[in-house]
């Protein structure tokens, strides 16, 4: 998400680390660089100014501390300031105050409200709620149709009202509908609007009068530039907002808008849209995001992802097989699937600390293609071949290559790699050899 900014910080801190101590001169240099990095990340101009003033003040005061390196101290100051702005920890939506719990989505055109409404419904369903989607956008062509299609695909009812009803009326009736059908949460999709469009902004206030809302959810595009500040604060002042969702975070936008929006509204960002599938909604973790900005990586998310996707029984079974040296291509395929379940290679890689530097050298898409190829080859083998790769003679290999759309060389390569892997696994069994192997690796 915040790759580029992270890259910049990496460079800057590398510089500071090389120098002895934080002084007026190197602080200014670092701050100038950070200013550019933050601005390039679309953090608002004024916020950058205020943030850096605070950072500088604190950094200069800190130079007496000798137990840590100047670089580390500096990182900590900026990190803390940004965490201060972003706030800490994820807390769920407020769904208790009144029933059915009603959430209204607001935002500019194209920020992703309708898609997010669908995602939110999926999310709430997973938490054992019974959501209702309400089509409050009567202006954009086929917006109602879009919500209905989404609703159908996730098996969530959609209330659209009649064609002559105004959005506030639709919302009022939708709540009745929810009560009659014992649906406990209501998600209102509204039309996208410019924050300076007075009549449409007033319409949102009309809805507020008509129904009691639990949360107003402001949907913002992660790619938004400097205006994020004005857009968010105007929505906040004219209509109000309780929580924020940042969409399109699966792109490579540096997402400084996140910092800007939180700074001017004080409202927590709770969700991140990270893909086109309706299940691509993540709980937003502000403190992890700051860590990512600072190039510390997001190990917590990585571990969580791994835990989510790895089937523990299967993992145990695999361990047993490795010990007994019964590891087959079938198991190898299983492993591949486990990795795939964690998400795209890109996403996983992003979470590893320091990966930003490496990223330039590795073509993620090629690696992903390679994985796919491997999968295709194994899938083109018979069960017996997967268990006993030894029987793979020339003609079998030719058949597999044809079946998987690859070349015989690719099949050969895979088998060679697999055999090497097995050899390595043999060493795992033997502690002495294991120690020797560790020395072979440049990293720990």
């Amino acid at each position: 998400m915040f790759e580029r900014l992270t890259e910049r910080f990496d460079d800057i801190f590398q510089k500071i680390k090389g120098q002895g101590i934080i002084n007026e001169k190197n602080v200014d240099e670092a701050i100038r660089e950070i200013r550019i990095a933050l601005l390039e990340a679309d953090v608002n101009y004024k916020i950058v100014k205020e943030l850096l003033a605070k950072v500088k003040e604190k950094a200069l005061g800190r130079k007496v501390v000798k137990s840590v390196s100047p670089g580390q101290a500096f990182v900590k100051i900026i990190h803390d300031e940004m965490v201060n702005i972003m706030g800490e920890g994820f807390s769920g939506l407020e769904l208790e105050k009144n029933k059915p719990a009603t959430i209204m989505l607001v935002g500019l055109q194209g920020s992703g409200k309708t898609t997010h409404a669908g995602k939110l419904a999926v999310y709430l369903k997973k938490k054992y709620h019974r959501p209702l989607l309400v089509a409050g956008d009567i202006y954009r062509p086929a917006a109602i149709e879009q919500l209905k299609t989404l609703g159908k695909s996730i098996d969530v009812p959609v209330y659209a009202g009649d064609t002559d009803m105004s959005p506030p009326e639709i919302c009022r009736e939708a709540l009745k509908y929810a009560e009659q059908n014992s649906l406990d949460t209501v998600i209102i999709d509204t039309a996208g609007r410019l924050q300076i469009d007075e009549p449409l902004m007033e319409e949102l206030n009309e809805i507020k009068k008509e129904v009691t809302l639990n949360e107003i959810l402001f949907v913002a595009d992660a790619m938004t530039g400097q205006e994020a500040v004005n857009i968010a604060s105007t929505f906040h002042n004219k209509v109000g907002m309780d929580v924020v969702c940042l969409t399109k975070l699966d792109g490579d936008a540096r997402g400084g808008a996140a910092l800007s929006i939180k700074y001017v509204t004080g409202k927590p960002i709770k969700f991140a849209g990270t893909g086109e599938k309706l299940s691509d909604l993540e709980e937003f973790h502000p403190e992890r995001m700051v860590s990512r900005i600072l190039g510390m990586g997001d190990v917590v998310s990585l571990v969580e992802k791994a835990q989510e996707s790895v089937d523990h029984k299967k993992a145990k079974e695999l361990e047993r097989k490795i010990k007994k040296q019964q590891f087959t291509l079938e198991d190898f395929l299983e492993q591949l699937h486990q990795v795939k379940k964690m998400g795209s290679l890109d996403k996983i890689f992003d979470m590893i600390p320091g990966s930003q530097r490496l990223k330039g050298n590795i073509n993620m898409q090629d690696s992903a293609k390679e994985l796919k190829k491997t999968e295709a080859i194994i899938l083109s083998m018979t069960p017996l071949e997967r268990k006993k790769p030894k029987i793979l003679n020339g003609s079998r290999r030719k058949r597999i290559a044809r079946g998987s759309g690859t070349r015989v060389q690719d099949v050969n390569k895979l088998i060679k790699n697999f055999n090497q892997m097995k050899k390595m696994m043999k060493m795992f069994k033997n502690p002495k050899k294991m120690a020797r192997m560790k020395q072979m690796f440049p990293f720990k």
Binding site: D42, S111, A143, T149, A253
Partner: protein
């Protein structure tokens, strides 16, 4: 009505007071000093022009102001406008319609307003007496086809679509055959919104390009990227990647009726030389204007009326 006029009117509608621009911008400023240059820097950066270009321009202007002995803030403002106008030299584009059918691919990330832009473009070309076909190449997003169909009806264009999840390339192949056979002047192909980080979706674009050429060898004649004015620096990455996969020949900036200035367009034109044909300034079918570099630059320095009014209110209440 010129875009700038319309913008002014729009702002007037929300705020009755419309004060002289230069006065507001340089409220209470009599001389050209460092503070003024800082203010110019802030204006440029806050228009999303990008920090490095903004710093470069301000540095350059400092030098020029010194050389030309500029003392009036108003003069300095003109100097800045000239400079940015200079950067935008040659950026205004009109589509040539050099062959028939003339095929447009309209691409961009999700939510920038591709479908709306196509509707407006179609309407404009129909007004010019052209026979226009609109092709639903977004077979992925829910109800995208329906949305485009409504726009096609509004615009008076022929509409071509296939069921959801059809391979967009297949849709294009058939559409172009039909357009060629039936003598359409213009074909506008909508595409699914895609983030530029999605490799397989970019490959899909390339395929659409190859397939179009099978029917009409020099199609698509124009590949137009639609850019949301509120987009920040990520627009650079977007355009770079799209451009590498399918060379872009034109740009439309949408949602300029909001408070965003779309300053990133200056950097985009400067870096990739992609000219700008139109701007979107509303939700009605006629809310599309030809891009005028001069008006764009004027708007760049137009103070935010909302903020100005708030400031005045705050001033008067104290």
């Amino acid at each position: 009505m010129k875009f700038f006029k319309k913008l002014q009117n729009r702002l007037k509608k929300t705020q009755e007071t419309f004060v002289n621009r230069v006065d507001t911008l340089f409220k209470g400023k009599k001389t050209v000093d460092d503070e003024l240059f800082d203010e110019m820097e802030a204006i440029l950066i806050q228009s999303d022009l990008g920090v490095t270009p903004a710093l470069d321009i301000v540095e350059d202007m400092r030098k020029q102001a010194r050389e030309r002995k500029v003392r009036e803030p108003g003069q300095l403002l003109e100097l800045f406008k000239e400079e940015i106008l200079h950067l935008l030299e040659g950026s205004e584009k009109t589509y040539a319609f050099s062959s028939s059918p003339f095929v447009f691919f309209v691409i961009g990330v999700n939510g920038v307003g591709k479908t709306t832009t196509i509707g407006k473009l179609g309407w404009q070309y129909v007004q010019e007496g052209k026979r226009v076909m609109i092709v639903a190449g977004d077979t992925f997003r829910a109800a995208a086809v329906e949305q485009l169909q409504i726009w096609a009806e509004r615009a008076g264009c022929t509409f071509f679509s296939k069921p959801m999840n059809t391979d967009p390339s297949a849709v294009i192949y058939e559409a172009l055959q039909k357009a060629d056979k039936e003598g359409f002047d213009c074909v506008l192909v909508d595409t699914a919104g895609r983030l530029h980080t999605r490799g397989n979706l970019l490959d899909e674009l390339k395929k659409m390009n190859r397939v179009a050429k099978k029917v009409i060898p020099d199609a698509p004649h124009e590949v137009v990227i639609v850019l949301d004015a509120s987009t920040g620096q990520n627009a650079l990455a977007q355009v770079k990647t799209f451009h590498e996969h399918l060379p872009l020949t034109g740009m439309v900036i949408t949602k300029l009726d909001g408070t965003s200035k779309g300053g990133i367009a200056v950097s985009l034109y400067h870096d990739y030389n992609i000219p700008i044909s139109h701007i979107g300034i509303g939700e009605e079918v006629e809310d599309l204007r030809e891009f005028s570099a001069k008006d764009f630059v004027e708007a760049l320095f137009l103070p935010d009326e909302n903020k100005t009014a708030e400031k005045q209110q705050a001033d008067s209440s104290t």
